[in-house]
């Protein structure tokens, strides 16, 4: 009946310093665009893209920071219920790499501990201006138990791969969880999560 047209729904959240290309990555993936200049679209909260992986429809809900990272003021609620985090830095900006531990601290504090984190070094089209070597980033991501990828939102390098690989991992994770966690179905008398209050026939 009202079962929507997808097999999985995942919330993916982007974080990282301002200017590293988060908005461009989202726009590139969802709309196939690389916007010149500032990419923030006023009034767009999250982007949706449905992809098909091995015959299954996966709906990705991709959330951008809404610029709150600019003065280090991301709301905690932004991290809640995210299935995956894309932690982005700019390979041409040492500073954006050096801030990663700070971002990890925030993740540890506010995100679910089941969240999958991917480290992304963006702007590889600017190879001549690279400040962070691939090896350094690989070592860092290994130490932090993160998956690592380098991308260019501008040239569309690895952008598709980033999101699709992530979707695959999310699917296998979700499968494992339903196998293990059958117990976690709501108990009788337990309150119901109402994630979208708009669902109700009032309005």
């Amino acid at each position: 009946m009202s079962m929507e047209d997808y097999d999985f729904l995942f919330k993916i959240v982007l974080i990282g310093n301002a200017g590293v290309g988060k908005t461009c990555l989202v726009r590139r993936f969802t709309q196939g665009l690389f916007p010149p200049g500032q990419g923030a679209t006023i009034g767009v909260d999250f982007m949706i893209k449905t992809v098909e992986i091995n015959g299954e429809k996966v709906k990705l809900q991709i959330w951008d920071t809404a610029g709150q990272e600019r003065f280090r003021s991301i709301t905690q609620s932004y991290y809640r219920s995210a299935n995956a985090l894309i932690l982005t830095y700019d390979i041409t900006c040492e500073e954006s790499f050096r801030c990663l531990p700070e971002w990890l601290r925030e993740i540890e504090q506010y995100a679910s501990n089941k969240v999958i984190t991917v480290l992304v070094g963006n702007k590889i089209d600017l190879a001549e201006r690279r400040e962070v070597s691939q090896q350094r980033a690989e070592e860092f991501s290994e130490a932090q138990d993160m998956y690592y990828l380098e991308t260019s939102a501008k040239e569309s390098d690895n952008v598709e791969k980033l999101f699709l690989d992530l979707a695959c991992r999310l699917i296998s994770e979700a499968r494992q969880n339903t196998l293990v966690n059958n117990v976690s179905s709501p108990l009788p008398g337990e309150g119901k999560s109402i994630s979208y209050l708009t669902c109700c026939n009032f309005n």
Binding site: S2, E4, N17, A18, T30, Q31, G32, A40, I42, G43, V44, D45, F46, M47, I48, K49, T50, V51, E52, I53, N54, K57, A66, G67, Q68, R70, F71, R72, S73, T75, Q76, S77, Y78, R80, S81, C99, Q109, Y110, N113, D145, S156, E160, L164, L187, P188, G189, E190, G191, K192, S193, I194, S195, Y196, L197, T198, C199, C200, N201, F202, N203
Partner: protein
């Protein structure tokens, strides 16, 4: 990141409490350039929620009470021109007073030893094989590491099966989760060296695994982030203005809610569940058939009492409590209706108000579930943040840890034209919205504030045990002396994401007449016993144990009229802090009224375009999709379909 703040805005908002955040969202949504700042490092001001450690540092700040380390702020006096004057803002928050903390959970190694002793007495074979002889206290803890592979649910595992526990001297199995969860901050390596103080928490873990539910202080600190402890304790009325606003503005997308599952009453020293839906009434084991019939009849009458004026006309001006006495309702039913359903006062509520409140309650019942209330997952503190996100999505700029030193007023026009921040940066705007606590003493010299008394308790079991241990309950405890304020008790379980497993978070709230402890301690004592006094033998009968308790008073600026603030320019608007009411209707109304005053012709928080409605075509498929994947570029549902219609749960 060493980015400079822009300096031209339409609206500058100082403070990130609920009314300010709603206003920020409304202004930004309406196309105005908004700067929203808070001098604190967190969102929400007195509407915030904290992790356990976060709450401890919050407390420290108020307990230090002396001069907070005065940051080297740029001098602003020189930046004021001759045609201007400045109104300095408050440097120190004075809205919280009389904080008192009590920890009953085990904190030191001496206690651990005691616990282990107690455990040997009554806990099973699990322990007896390894806990042979008491060792000198200092050594004991480190000898007793036990690890369950999944460290998230120690207590449950322990009671489930012995075999899952390895209690072996010196043999420590640390699960990978454990390692990861601890991160680098609190990681406790249960190494073999016997004299490290840091090892204690591990030992405490052991005790809990064996002795069910006895949570230690160290565990609470270790699981700190599982807690989201609200400074104000509120619920959302399922037909209230906050729910309506959340839905209308789509801000509801940012949060999740749970239904409050039970309405409780406290009568003759006992906690009971109040039946409030039709099904509850019928299924109640406590009520007799006659009581059920009388209650149903009365509630059915309340749903459309206006149609039956004859029933209550003669009592309109009388007290509701007197009216109830004439309705053949037994005393317990009268209590339920008066205190738990209408939630009114015995000594002051008129019949008409009581009927109105009862009807309102009944009408709210069926919307989302079995009781008329909702609670946001992760705590009330999420709500202001959700509105802030909405503001940011529409271009609002956010800056926490940003102190504003003064308002700059143009002498001639008597309008505020700018603020000066702590870097000496001038930021211009047309309108300024300031939360009450940021105003200085002179501005507030004529203001009389009320106070709210609050207690926050961490306990080990529910005040009313039931089949499910995941209940969200509200209980109104009527005042002992007439005229005093009733105490609202809200008990949250761990599935609300506000407290760690095997604990409950209990919030008490009332209007202050004295300090919070003086106002609330008697109710706390009626409902709970300190952990140390718990008699382990009477497991079944015992009251829930207190593990930790905090009392504090919070300023209630909700009743202050604008005219009582001295010397504020007309384009400076003041938002109040939290009020003591159960809902957030006051904050919503304040924000809406203020918005309409500032922008009279604009709509307040209209729905934004639904992101789900943004449709991308299937044509721009990327050619470089990896082999195993087929990419179908979003083919989204039509707008109608994407709004799942779900009928509200009927009671």
């Amino acid at each position: 990141m060493a980015d400079n703040l822009p300096t031209e805005f339409d609206v500058v908002i100082i403070g990130t409490g609920l009314p300010e955040s709603i206003l920020a969202a409304a202004c930004s949504r309406s196309g105005h350039r908004v700067l929203h700042v808070d001098s604190r490092s967190y969102y929400g001001g007195n509407w915030a929620s904290f992790s356990f450690s976060g709450l401890l540092s919050w407390l420290k700040e108020y307990q230090q009470n002396g001069d907070t380390e005065e940051e080297t702020a740029a001098a602003w006096q020189d930046l004021i021109h001759e045609t201007e004057e400045a109104i300095a803002l408050c440097k120190k928050d004075e809205t919280i007073q009389h904080t008192e903390v009590f920890c009953y959970a085990s904190q030191n190694s001496g206690d651990s030893v005691h616990e282990i002793g107690a455990l040997q007495k009554n806990a099973s074979s699990v322990a007896s094989s390894t806990f042979t002889e008491p060792l000198p206290s200092a050594e004991l803890p480190e000898e007793r590491h036990s690890y369950v592979t999944n460290n998230e649910m120690p207590a449950k595992h322990a009671s489930e099966s012995d075999s899952k526990i390895s209690v072996e001297e010196g043999d420590v199995e640390e699960s990978p989760e454990k390692e990861k969860y601890c991160g680098d901050k609190t990681c406790i390596h249960p190494g073999s060296d016997g004299d490290k103080v840091e090892n204690k928490p591990i030992v405490d873990d052991d005790n809990n695994q064996l002795k069910r539910n006895v949570i230690t202080y160290h565990q609470m600190v270790q699981e700190s982030r599982r807690f989201n402890i609200d400074l104000v304790s509120k619920l959302l009325y399922s037909q209230g203005s906050l729910i309506d606003l959340l839905i209308k503005s789509n801000v509801s997308h940012y949060a999740e809610f749970k239904n409050v599952t039970r309405i409780l009453a406290f009568r003759e020293g006992k906690v009971e569940q109040v039946p409030c839906s039709r099904a509850d009434v019928f299924n109640s084991k406590e009520l007799t058939m006659v009581e059920k019939r009388v209650l149903m009849k009365f509630l059915t009458f309340c749903l459309d009492y206006e149609q039956h004026p004859g029933e209550y006309q003669d009592f309109q001006q009388c007290l509701f409590s007197e009216f109830l006495k004439t309705k053949k309702l037994t005393p317990n039913l009268q209590h339920f209706i008066l205190h738990s359903i209408a939630m009114t006062s015995e000594s002051s509520c008129t019949t008409l108000d009581g009927l109105k409140a009862t009807k309102n309650f009944l009408q709210c019942l069926g919307r989302f579930g079995n009781t008329p209330f909702l609670f946001p997952l992760y705590g009330q503190g999420e709500i202001p943040q959700c509105f802030c996100r909405m503001c940011a999505v529409f271009g609002g700029i956010y800056c926490l840890r940003h102190t504003i030193q003064c308002l700059v007023v143009d002498k001639e026009s008597r309008r505020c034209k700018a603020v000066i921040d702590r870097f000496g940066q001038r930021i211009n705007a047309d309108y300024f919205i300031v939360e009450d606590s940021y105003l200085n003493k002179e501005t507030c010299s004529d203001v009389q504030y009320k106070q709210i008394s609050r207690a926050v308790l961490i306990t080990d079991q529910s005040i009313l045990k039931a089949d499910s241990d995941q209940q969200i309950s509200i209980l109104i405890v009527p005042p002992v002396e007439p005229g005093a304020s009733s105490v609202r008790v809200i008990e949250l379980c761990s599935s609300t994401m506000t407290c760690m497993k095997d604990t409950y978070l209990v919030h008490l709230t009332c209007e202050s007449s004295k300090t919070a402890r003086e106002d609330l301690e008697s109710v706390v004592k009626k409902l709970f016993t300190p952990l140390t006094e718990t008699e382990v033998d009477k497991e079944e009968l015992r009251k829930p144990s207190l593990l930790w308790a905090l009392y504090f008073n919070m300023r209630d600026s909700s009743g202050v009229s604008r005219s009582s603030y001295c010397g504020l320019p007309c384009n400076v608007y003041v938002c109040s802090g939290p009020d003591s009411g159960l809902g957030s209707e006051h904050a919503v109304k304040l924000a809406e009224t203020m918005f309409q005053e500032i922008f009279p012709s604009e709509e307040f928080c209209p729905p934004p375009p639904n992101p789900e409605d943004i449709i991308f075509d299937g044509d721009d498929k990327q050619a470089d999709a990896p082999g195993t994947h087929t990419t179908t570029v979003a083919n989204l549902e039509s707008p109608e379909e994407s709004k799942k219609l779900e009928s509200p749960l009927q009671s």
